[in-house]
Amino acid sequence: MHTVKVMFFATLRDYVGAKSVELEIPVQTTILGLTELLIKRYPGLEKVKDSMMAAINREYAANEQVIPEKAEIAFFPPVSGG
């Protein structure tokens, strides 16, 4: 197990009800694994799981990517700046 910081932005923060959480996750957990874990904990995320994007250490990450130790993870909807 190791600890990661997970941040949420925009709609996802509203669904989770927090800007960030610290979680204990098994080593070798992937983004997909973490997503499933989060949906269990915050069922509101279920309906947006297909459009959710993930970043590991400030880079866009794929579902199958393994989360390294002390990673900074972020989940958010497609961006809409400008």
Binding site: F9, A10, Q65, A74, F76, G82
Partner: protein, 152 residues
Amino acid sequence: MEYPTVISLNESELDLDALLAQITLPTTGACAIFTGMVRGQTLRGDAHDTAYLEYEGYQPMAESKMRQVAEEIRQKWPSIEGIAIVQRIGRLYPGTPTTLIACTAAHRNTGVFEAAHYGIDRLKEIVPVWKKEIGSQGEEWVEGNYHPKPGE
């Protein structure tokens, strides 16, 4: 000669003249700037009025992606000299400039227009910033539709 790249994501008002001066070198003769502002009235698509927008960003990743946009521009248009990429966050009212992409070069026909156009397109694709629209219909997050590839 070091080519200047100005990246800024904060709540401060945009100052176009100051930004332009920051990316003007002795060899610079041309600058193309794109700036976007809050529309009070939108007519295209779902016509509606906007009272204000509330912007938020994932600050360190947004700055890193803005820097990446600047590097992509330099790769594609090597004649570009200075680049400024700015995104305001916080509460912004109609008429207010919210974002700016400016590219300078020695002459106007070596890519400044195309570079600025590319810059705003990429900012809207990969820079993690979101806006919530507040109007007479209540408030609603605006959602983009681009899904960057891993590492993009």
